[in-house]
Subunit: 114 residues, 2 copies
């Protein structure tokens, strides 16, 4: 099994931590939007990787990794992403938080390697 | 509904991003360990908050927030936590990664406030 660290280089790099709670009453289009945003992110300069975990309860954490804050900021401003952010507030999310962070250090464990 | 940002002050502060995949074959004691570690973290100097999301598939992301890297490092070295880390490698996790990051900026949305 691949270690998560395969997706990121040696620090420092940027992590965008997106924690969210879905409303759950009308999620039409949500799954497609997530797929579109993952493809869009992958096509951006400076994109390093992506991890997302969601619960049936509607709570989710999504983290995207970028070369630097500038690359993360550029993705925030892409037209298709701006439209998705607007729909997120209008339709899908009850609440969310975004944190822009600098990863200073990383270490890991993989049972098939260690 | 409380916004996630209620748990953290103005940046900068420290985020410890822990991404993991459980083995799933013998998870005896896992849930108790998680509860114990959350209580232990809350009792530590410099602890700011905690978010965790897990999927039935075994993938999980847990983020703990701390006043600074020093407070996060101190928690890593608490005896009870060291024992839990050892059990994690021996019994529960197929793979994990830990990233120590400095949160530089944050913003959020709450449908009941905005």
């Amino acid at each position: 099994m691949a270690n998560f660290l395969d997706t990121t280089p040696e620090p420092p790099y940027t992590a965008v931590i997106f924690t969210s709670i879905k409303r759950g009453d009308n999620m039409d289009g949500y799954a497609d939007m997530i797929d579109d945003m993952m493809l869009l992110a992958k096509s951006q300069d400076g994109f390093l990787g992506f991890e997302t975990v969601g619960e049936a309860s509607g709570r989710a954490i999504t983290i995207s990794y970028w070369r630097d804050h500038e690359a993360a900021r550029a993705f925030k401003g892409v037209d298709q992403h701006i439209a998705a952010q607007r729909l997120g507030r209008q339709k899908w999310y009850s609440a969310y938080a975004t944190r822009i962070a600098t990863v200073d250090k990383q270490y890991g464990y993989d049972s098939e390697r260690n």
